[in-house]
């Protein structure tokens, strides 16, 4: 059953390759995505036991990420049908195939317990996303693709070196060299500390680059800014969470070693705070609203890292925030894609009064902004509140206050861009475009916004239990 999550999208990619018609081809996406989300929901409820070799096991942490990815992909898949009907001038074969291959690799990331296989799957997501960033085929998008491809490849290469160090630390400790999570955790206390330390640093830098933690985020604004909205949504909500899962695995090993975890948490806290600070600085007066969303993503991976670095109660918040951030970024990127399409421009110089011109997309963008900056009643408020309150409960006043300060600065910076965009009257000289809000381009993000609202007001019990199980795996006493 689990293997279906990997094979099904590959089969879909094959279909997308065969279908000759540019109009019919995108229909493969929602078809596969619907089966995928049904399967994922079933498997999260009844997870099969670990595979005999211990390589494949959908544990609670994997389940949280799988749920987020599958839901986000389904929403993006339906949106893609509406979006691509406006882009008939361009073949969407590569786009459809890339999305499905990426979904397959992301599924593999969530279910594998072998760190080597996890690395292979993550690298596959990197490579399969590269042609999608280049969908618009212009000078700006090629530049973004090149930066993304080179920086992420080098980063993930460093993570491979970290994995080799980790395997070597078992070898030096006279165990059979292994990269399986279970055995690694059971012998973590005996691992050679020097090599483990080096491994933790390289893995954090490598996967941190992929996740976009400052100061390793240089590729992020360009890639998010130039990619089509739906690719941006999957980058910010899918790939980021996969990379975060990889960091969670490293965290598990550091935790089991007992000594390394202190350093790892400090490093995460440091990088998290730096990310939030970077985002706060660059968000202000950002004229390009897609780049602004990229900095918002840098901010939120910072929040995830801080949640992990604080440990204890904040872990629940971090896991919940993973889900919330992924879905809210989806709403923002999809609706910003609509606005971009309508105005044929993505700077606030031209884009004004979106709420009048595109009531639905403009409204969703505004609601997404309110949600992502952590305002009640949406769910990011709950996860951010959990993290910050746990910081104060543990007496980490400096971290807690800086966290709050950056949140406020980001809120103001983002509001200065978003509010003029959606409010006011649309400028008269903007030429009309063929884009108008339709069910397929507005319905999917609207549905996702509802999910975020429901999660904020009344989080379902099974999800709370799942998040608690996940936090328990990261060392919280249940």
């Amino acid at each position: 059953m689990l293997y279906a999550l990997v094979l099904l999208p590959l089969l879909g990619a094959l279909c997308a390759w065969i279908v000759p018609d540019n109009r019919l081809r995108p229909l493969v996406l929602p078809l596969i995505a619907t089966i995928h989300i049904c399967l994922a929901a079933f498997l999260v409820g009844n997870a099969p036991p670990p595979s005999p070799g211990g390589w494949i096991w959908l544990d609670p942490l994997g389940k949280v990420v799988l749920l987020c990815i599958s839901l986000l992909f389904a929403v993006c898949a339906f949106y893609a049908v509406g979006y691509l009907s406006y882009r008939q001038e361009r073949s969407n074969r590569v786009l459809c195939m890339g999305l499905l291959v990426c979904l397959s690799a992301m599924g593999m990331v969530t279910m594998t317990q072998h760190l080597g296989l996890l690395w292979v799957a993550l690298e596959t997501t990197t490579v399969s996303m590269a042609p999608l960033i280049y969908f618009n085929h212009n000078a700006r998008s090629i530049e973004a693709t090149w930066k993304y491809l080179l920086l992420c490849s080098v980063g993930i290469g460093l993570a491979l070196l970290g994995l080799l160090f980790l395997a070597y630390s078992t070898y030096v400790a006279h165990h059979d060299a292994t990269l399986l999570l279970g055995p690694l955790m059971s012998i973590a206390r005996e691992l050679n500390p020097a090599w483990l330390h080096a491994a933790a640093i390289f893995l954090l830098v490598g996967y941190g680059t992929k996740m976009g933690l400052a100061p390793l985020h240089a590729w992020k604004p360009d890639a998010y800014g130039e990619a089509p909205g739906l690719v941006g949504a999957l980058l910010a909500g899918g790939l980021v969470n996969c990379a975060f899962l990889a960091i969670l695995r490293v965290y598990q090993i550091c935790l089991a070693s007992g000594t390394e975890i202190r350093f790892f948490q400090q490093a995460l806290l440091g990088m998290g705070l730096v990310s939030m600070a970077f985002a706060a600085v660059f968000m202000a007066r950002q004229a390009d609203f897609k780049r602004m969303l990229a900095y918002s993503s840098v901010e939120h991976v910072g929040i995830l890292a801080i949640g992990l670095g604080l440990g204890k109660g904040a872990l629940y918040g971090a896991l919940f925030h993973l889900l919330n951030n992924g879905l809210t970024k989806g709403v923002l990127f999809l609706s910003s894609g609509n606005i971009h399409r309508s105005y044929s421009n993505k700077t606030t110089v031209v884009v004004k009064g979106a709420l009048t011109r595109l009531p639905w997309s403009g409204g969703l963008f505004l609601a997404g902004f309110i949600a992502i900056t952590g305002s009640p009643p949406f769910s990011p408020f709950i996860s951010e509140y959990t993290i910050v309150s746990s910081a104060f409960i543990d007496g980490r006043f400096l971290v807690g206050s800086l966290f709050l300060l950056f949140l406020v600065v980001v809120f103001i910076g983002m509001a200065l861009t978003v509010l003029p965009m959606v409010m006011g009257a649309p400028p008269a000289e903007v030429e009309a475009s063929d884009y108008e809000d339709r069910l397929l381009t507005v319905g999917p993000p609207l549905f996702m916004m509802m999910v975020i609202l429901v999660l904020g007001v009344w989080p379902p019990e099974f999800l709370v239990a799942l998040l608690k199980d996940g936090a328990a795996m990261l060392g919280v006493q249940p």
Binding site: G116, I142, L160, L164, Y171, A287
Partner: protein, 213 residues
């Protein structure tokens, strides 16, 4: 056998220096191919024979020695360039830096807590030296193709370290890693093509439209 392995590793480090000193792209590509073939031969010299090992050897030689160099030289042909011109730092300074890095990597490897049976081998210093050479190429060269070659050299450095652990890495993971590298380089080749068409040059220092005002 380990004597032969050490000699081959010295050759790997010499190739690093050759690549730092040359401006001819085709020459660099051939050098990196030779490096890849050596990487393929090495595991057979330090580990006892097994089918796993034979598969790895064949895979590495095929991927790093033949297919990847083919992809890159294809990109070079299509972009119609032969030389790296005006790197950010000149050839002689980078060559000297490369030599210093190689010396430092020997000094550094001395200090590492290696397993006793690996103490006398050159694997670790060669790995660090190659890794640093890759970084040097990545940061000092302007042409997109030179940067891809730098990335490959860096990957080769990581592989040299991985050779110590060949037995531990399952075939599937190694095959996956090689395949990812292959596809990655293939995609980079395509991107280079588009860069040269879009900018009529593959000078990456021209890629600077996207930045903060």
């Amino acid at each position: 056998m380990s004597l032969l392995a050490d000699q081959l590793l010295v050759l790997v480090m010499l190739i690093n220096l050759v690549m730092l000193g040359t401006s001819r792209l085709i020459f660099s590509i051939r050098a990196v191919a030779v490096q890849g073939v050596i990487l393929g031969i090495l595991p057979g010299l330090i580990h006892p024979f097994s089918f796993h090992l034979a598969g790895i050897t064949a895979g590495i030689i095929l991927a790093k020695g033949i297919v990847i160099p083919y992809f890159i030289s294809n990109a070079v042909r299509k972009a119609q360039i032969r030389r790296e011109v005006e790197p950010f730092i000149g050839y002689v300074p980078t060559l000297l830096l490369g030599a210093v890095f190689t010396a430092l990597s020997f000094a550094f490897a001395e200090k590492l807590p290696l397993a006793p049976e690996h103490k006398d081998l050159l694997f670790v210093p060669a790995s660090i030296a190659t890794l640093l050479t890759g970084f040097l190429l990545l940061t000092t060269r302007r042409k997109a193709i030179s940067q891809v070659i730098g990335y490959l050299v860096m990957e080769n450095g990581i592989f040299v370290f991985g050779l110590l652990l060949t037995e531990a890495m399952p075939v599937m993971v190694e095959a996956g890693a090689l395949l990812d590298l292959l596809v990655g380089i293939f995609v980079m080749g395509i991107v280079i093509n588009h860069i040269s068409r879009e900018f009529s040059s593959i000078d990456t220092s021209r890629l600077q439209t996207l930045k903060e005002e």
